[in-house]
Structures are given as structure tokens and as C-alpha cells.
């Protein structure tokens, strides 16, 4: 289903208003300190707006929207640093079930993901963290054996999908939370707003989801990259706006520091980064091709990190403190730059799309 630009804007504003109210910096810090790393109350409110079911077809209880609406919403989620399994459950898992699952799988799993009552995750990569076929470190041979690393919000999930090697390529498998031989360990994370787990499987019973192979996984990773790029563009814009505000109010040497050319020139360059990231993310959502997604995959990640680094520098000493939010944006930028494939991977795909 496609909705008009005006309706997308309304959806974006509804999400922004909710987050302005319910996901302030104080809220983010409170949730960061919890074991689960998400706010069940906020998750329910996001569900009332239809967010977990954004991409899920209406016949399975979702809203049935597409990449452009996803990107718009993701900009707001990134701007507010929302600690939630949205990307993990509502984008990666939902898309993979849609791409790989049978009708029965969809009927059984998607409604719960759509209304937010269940939370999904996908275990893709092994310790290599490459999110490529080569990086998969779980073997399927009747049962699952091996390790999956960097599993997003893995501790929370009750719908657990695992990408594993099979005799004839790759398959997607569903593992019950209490399955024997399945162990999940929460990792200590650098960015406390994005939780990660390590999954180990020792002769763990699993059920194959559909018959799809890596192409379904890639499809889910691509849409996740679009959402992540949107989060990165939104986060970059937000910390940049905070920085420009600071440049106007912080006085040194008798002048607002924003009157110094050194600051102005940094700010102008960062504005170019922010706008370019926004263009790249929106283009990836609208275009959907491998070149556009690869471009967003590295351009948005790199822009966000650069903008967040500059923000700390431009804030000076206050930017180096835990109490200032600038480092939260840098943490999120650094985590996003590794998730679902790093810059090197996206750059290579981009070059291939350009015939190089």
C-alpha cells in the first residue's frame, strides 16, 4: 500500500510528537540503565501508532506500508535515540518472515510482531560480524550447531530466527526460546541503546522456515539498511541542530562561539554531511535498488559518525562529559556503522553497482 506524501508527513509528526513526550533524553537514560534495554510502555504506545506492524501486510494485522514510510519514521526514531527492538523485530524479523516464510508461518508469526505483543530477532552472522554468507557460523544438519554473534535485542525475543548453513546453501530456521542446547548471552555493549546477544546452539532442534535461501536474508538486510540509514540521517540532524544551538548560546572571548569562522566552517561542512545523508536515505527508500541501498549504507553511517564526532569537538569540554547527550549520538553512530554490514561491504557493493 502506498500513502500520500502528506500522509507520510502526518505519520512522521505523530511519531515525533509521541517521542518528544515519551522518549526524552531522561527517558533514554532511564531505559539505558535497565536490563531489557527497552521501555515496554513506550513500545505499547508505538504499537498503538502501528509502528511494529508498519511493514506487515494488513491481512496479517499490520499497516502494510513500504520503505519510504519506514525511512520517514526511522529518521524520528534515530533523532530521539529510541532504545527499542523496532529495527530488529519490526523490520529485520518481519521482513525475513515475509520473504522466507510460508503462508502458515506468516499467519502464525506476523500478527504478534505487528501488534508488538511478540518481539522477534534474527541471528545472522557469526563472530566475523560480516553479515555476508561467508560470516554465517551456524550449521544446520537436522539440528542447529554453532554460534551467532551481534544478535540485536536477542535477550528480549520470543520469535527467534536463525540463518544457518545447509547442505544446499543457506536456510532460515525458527528456534523455540526454550529449545534444548540453545543458550543466549547478553553482550556488554558500547551503545546501551542497542542491545546485542550471542547465541550458541548445540544440537538444537529447529524448524525450517519456508525454503528460501540467502536471497531472502539479503532482502531483509537491505530493508534494515534503509531503516538504519534513516535513523542515521535523523540522528545526525538532531545532534547537529543541538550543536548549532550551542554555538549560538555559548559565549567565550566575549562572543558567541558561533561567530568564530573556525566553528562556522566546521558547521557548514557538517550541514553538507547531514543533508547528503538525508538525501541518500530517502533515495534508498524510494529507489530500492542495490546501488541506492549500498550508497545509503556507507554514506549515512559515515556522515552520522563525522557529525557526532564534530558535535563533541564543537561542544568542547561539556561535550566530553557523560551527562551531555553528544556521546549517546556518537555511540549510536558507531554501533550503526557496524550493524548489518560495515562501510567496506557497502562501498564494495556500491562500486559493483557502478560497473567498477
Amino acid at each position: 500500500m502506498a500513502i500520500s506524501a502528506a500522509e507520510t508527513e502526518q505519520l512522521r509528526e505523530a511519531v515525533r510528537d509521541l517521542l518528544a513526550d515519551r522518549c526524552t533524553e531522561t527517558d533514554v537514560r532511564r531505559v539505558m540503565a535497565t536490563d531489557s534495554g527497552y521501555d515496554p510502555e513506550l513500545w505499547k504506545q508505538l504499537a498503538d501508532l502501528g509502528l511494529p506492524g508498519l511493514l506487515i501486510a494488513t491481512e496479517h494485522g499490520g499497516v502494510g506500508l513500504g520503505a519510504e514510510e519506514l525511512e520517514a519514521v526511522s529518521e524520528e526514531i534515530g533523532a530521539a535515540l529510541v532504545p527499542s527492538p523496532f529495527l530488529s523485530s519490526s523490520v529485520l524479523t518481519a521482513t525475513l518472515i515475509d520473504a522466507a516464510g510460508s503462508e502458515e508461518d506468516k499467519r502464525r508469526l506476523l500478527p504478534g510482531l505487528a501488534d508488538g505483543s511478540s518481539i522477534g530477532t534474527v541471528a545472522v552472522t557469526g563472530p566475523a560480524g560480516s553479515w555476508t554468507p561467508e560470516g554465517v557460523a551456524v550449521q544446520a544438519n537436522g539440528t542447529l550447531t554453532g554460534t551467532a554473534s551481534y544478535v540485536t535485542f536477542g535477550q528480549l525475543a520470543d520469535v527467534i530466527l536463525v540463518v544457518a548453513r545447509t547442505d544446499d546453501g543457506f536456510g532460515v530456521f525458527e528456534v523455540a526460546p526454550a529449545a534444548p542446547g540453545f543458550l543466549r548471552t547478553a553482550a556488554e555493549v558500547f551503545d546501551p541503546t542497542v542491545r546485542l546477544s550471542q547465541f550458541t546452539f548445540a544440537d538444537t532442534p529447529a524448524r525450517r522456515v519456508g525454503t528460501a535461501g540467502w536471497e531472502a536474508v539479503q532482502k531483509a538486510l537491505d530493508l534494515s539498511t534503509v531503516a538504519l540509514a534513516g535513523e542515521q540521517a535523523g540522528g545526525a540532524r538532531k545532534i547537529f541542530e543541538k550543536t548549532v544551538e550551542y554555538l549560538n548560546t555559548r559565549v567565550q572571548f566575549g562572543r558567541a562561539i558561533g561567530s568564530f569562522q573556525a566553528m562556522k566552517h566546521l558547521a557548514a561542512d557538517r550541514l553538507l554531511d547531514v543533508e547528503s545523508a538525508t538525501s541518500a536515505a530517502r533515495h534508498a527508500a524510494a529507489d530500492g535498488g542495490p546501488g541506492a541501498i549500498a550508497l545509503a549504507g556507507f554514506a549515512c553511517a559515515e556522515a552520522y559518525e563525522t557529525v557526532a564526532l564534530s558535535a563533541i569537538q564543537m561542544h568542547g569540554g561539556i561535550g566530553f562529559t557523560w551527562e551531555h547527550p553528544a556521546h549517546l549520538y556518537l555511540r549510536r553512530a558507531r554501533s550503526g556503522a557496524q550493524l548489518f554490514g560495515n562501510s567496506r561491504l557497502h562501498r564494495e557493493r556500491y562500486l559493483v553497482s557502478k560497473g567498477a
Binding site: K264, S279, A299, L351
Partner: protein
């Protein structure tokens, strides 16, 4: 009122009947009799300046309709339409010129019967254009001009120059300026070509000794030249988006992927990394421009619009570094016998054309920070001093 669809049909039919193509002019500063004849037709049809008033060759149409004309001309590859958007001299003279000046100049400028050049920059007034020292002194119904201008494109083929000159040294620098149109074909106008670092000579320096200007050729009021100049510069900025220029030999150096492949460097991981960076910079700039255009069409302003020139500077220098890295030691060589090296070196030097020309990158950043981001203005220590007392280099 004509509808857009009717107009599109009208223009399309007109072009189908009239447009048969033109041989290119020898360079962008010159014109040909055939081109002038064509532009006469465009002016007579009302397509040259459709938003202008009817008494000045226009049709008094809104910009949306005028854009329809421009689009049809563009797809036919025909020049001359929509000069109301792009012609710096025509727009400036229409907005601020006397009736006599409009009569003397407008038609000939629109048909390129008369060519113009810009007498703006001076050796002591580049980015700080309000620091010009070329002086115009009133003498009855004439002004007498003395001074030196630089970076004048097309001076050798121009019939008129648009001049910013100082008419009062005893008021602050922005207030003592006036804007004129100077006839070029008169004694005292001494044009000397300026050789650029690329070895080319597109620009000139012009020495002005007791050059005469009719009082009617004062554009806007005496002492209000800065305001006229700002309007003229706004037209210039709106047309200076794409600073890219192809290489001289048109060698494979223009296509980075092809160059890397031909030189067997496409598998080099460092080259690949830089190649992705450079291709992405170009694509991101194109996407930004498309987004700015879409915002403009919806009537919303976009901060993206002001970023194109700064982005292009970075792109051109980044491409130059990569190209040089790919070509390697061959860039030690020059000349027609080494076309790829010659192009690589030319493009590396010519990148400054965008990063210095039309306001340096540094000035652009300051403007973006102040006008787009709203950061505090740079303190100007000479803004309120009489120009006579301003420190000069």
C-alpha cells in the same frame, strides 16, 4: 490566460517550424551572425524573457509558464529562452536601469548583438568586493572612471561592461559605491590577458584610464551600487551551480572507472576505496540538488540549495587526487603527446576554478553558516569607517 498545456503545444509547434540547429560559436564569449538571427526570432516570439513586461519583449507570464518554454527549448537543444532567469546584464538593467539604458541595451543583450563582461573584482577586492578602489567621478553629464579590474571573462569580445566603482571615499565602504554600464569601445580601456595556472587565458585584467560613461548609464542611484550588485550576484549564483568542466583532450581521464580499468588499477583496494568515495560525492550532490529542486517546486525553501557550489569544490579536488593517483608518474608529463596526463593535470589545477571562483570555499562556508544556520555575523571592523580610512593590503 494561456494554460501550460496550450503553451507547450504552441512552443513545440513553433520550434518544429523554426529551429533547425546552429553551428557552435568559436567560444562561449563570442557569437555568430546565425546565432544572433536565431535569438532575434526568440525575442520576437516573446520566449526570451516571458516573465518580463510586454513593453520589454516579455509576455508578463508567471514563472511556471515561463518554465514550460524553457523545458521545450531545452529538450530541443535550442538556446535563448528564459533569459529572464539567467541573464545577469539583462535582469540588472531591467531592474535598475534608466529608460535610455534599457532602450540602448536590452534588445541587443538578449540577441547577443552586444556582449557584456563584468568589471567587479580588483587586485585588492576579491572576496571583499566592497573594497573596490576603481573610482568614478562626476563631470557634468558624464562620469570619468580610473582604476583596474581583474578576472574579467570575455573582455576582449565584450561591447559593454557592468562596473562597480567607488563614487565616494568619505563614507563607509558599502555606501560609497555605484553601479554603471561602461561602453568598452573607447580610448582608455586597456585589456591584457591573464594567464591562469592551467596555462589557459580565459580572463583579463583591464586598466581604465579616464574612461567616460554617460550619466544615463548609472544603474540605480549614486551610492546605491552595493544593492544593485547584490541583485546581480544573486542571478550569478543561481546559474553557477555546476562548476564541472570536461578535460581539454576529452581523454579517458574524464571517466574515473574507465581510467582505473585501463590502467589496471581497478582491483587496487586503496583506489577502490577512494573511487567509492568520489562516485558517492557526485551522486550525493546530484541527489541533494534534486531534493532542493523538489522543495523549490513545492514552494518550500531548502538549506540544500546553498550547498551545491561548496560540494562541487570538494568533488573536483577529490576527483583530481584520485585521478592523479591512478595515472601516477605519467602526470610528470604534459602536452598533446601525453593527453591523459595533460587532462589529469589540467583537471587538478582547474578544480580551483570552483573553489576560488565566485567566492572562495571559505567565504561560502561563512555565508552558509550565517544565512542558513543563523550563526552570528562575522564582526566587520571596517564596516562603519569612511573608506578613506580603511586599512588596505
Amino acid at each position: 490566460m494561456t494554460s501550460a498545456d496550450q503553451l507547450r503545444e504552441e512552443v513545440r509547434a513553433w520550434l518544429a517550424a523554426e529551429w533547425t540547429g546552429l553551428a557552435p560559436a568559436p567560444d562561449r564569449w563570442s557569437t555568430t551572425p546565425e546565432r544572433i538571427a536565431w535569438l532575434e526570432k526568440v525575442v520576437a516570439a516573446g520566449y526570451a524573457v516571458p516573465t518580463w513586461p510586454v513593453e520589454w519583449f516579455g509576455r508578463a507570464w508567471p514563472a511556471e509558464l515561463a518554465d514550460v518554454i524553457a523545458a521545450e527549448f531545452e529538450s530541443a537543444g535550442a538556446p535563448g529562452a528564459r533569459q529572464d532567469k539567467y541573464s545577469i546584464p539583462a535582469n540588472t538593467v531591467l531592474a535598475f536601469g534608466t529608460e535610455k539604458l534599457k532602450h540602448d541595451l536590452l534588445r541587443d543583450v538578449l540577441t547577443e548583438r552586444s556582449r557584456t563582461c563584468l568589471f567587479y573584482s580588483e587586485p585588492g577586492a576579491g572576496s571583499d568586493l566592497a573594497a573596490v578602489r576603481t573610482t568614478a567621478v562626476r563631470d557634468g553629464d558624464r562620469w570619468i572612471v580610473n582604476g583596474q579590474k581583474v578576472w574579467t571573462s570575455g573582455a576582449k569580445t565584450a561591447d559593454y561592461a557592468l562596473l562597480i566603482a567607488r563614487t565616494d571615499w568619505d563614507v563607509p565602504k558599502h555606501k560609497g559605491l555605484s553601479y554603471f554600464v561602461v561602453p568598452m569601445h573607447q580610448p582608455g580601456v586597456d585589456i591584457r590577458p591573464l594567464v591562469q595556472i592551467t596555462g589557459e587565458s580565459h580572463f583579463n585584467e583591464v586598466f581604465l584610464t579616464d574612461v567616460e560613461i554617460l550619466a544615463d548609464y548609472l544603474v540605480g542611484d549614486e551610492g546605491k551600487g552595493w544593492r544593485v550588485l547584490q541583485t546581480a550576484l544573486a542571478y550569478e549564483r543561481s546559474i553557477m551551480g555546476d562548476g564541472a568542466r570536461a578535460s581539454r583532450h576529452g581523454s579517458i581521464a574524464d571517466d574515473l572507472v574507465a581510467l582505473a580499468r585501463e590502467r589496471g588499477r581497478l582491483a587496487d583496494p586503496v583506489i577502490r576505496d577512494n573511487l567509492a568515495t568520489v562516485l558517492a560525492l557526485r551522486e550525493l550532490n546530484a541527489l541533494n540538488n534534486a531534493r532542493a529542486k523538489a522543495a523549490a517546486e513545492q514552494g518550500t525553501s531548502s538549506s540544500v540549495m546553498s550547498l551545491g557550489k561548496l560540494a562541487m569544490s570538494g568533488i573536483l579536488h577529490a576527483e583530481a587526487r584520485l585521478r592523479t593517483d591512478i595515472a601516477g608518474p605519467e602526470t610528470l608529463l604534459a602536452g598533446d603527446a601525453n593527453p591523459v596526463a595533460d587532462d589529469v593535470n589540467f583537471l587538478a589545477l582547474n578544480a580551483f576554478f570552483t573553489s576560488i571562483g565566485g567566492g572562495t570555499d571559505q567565504i561560502q562556508r561563512t555565508i552558509i553558516a550565517e544565512r542558513v544556520l543563523g550563526l552570528p555575523k562575522e564582526p566587520e571592523i571596517d564596516r562603519d569607517l569612511p573608506f578613506r580610512a580603511v586599512r588596505r593590503s
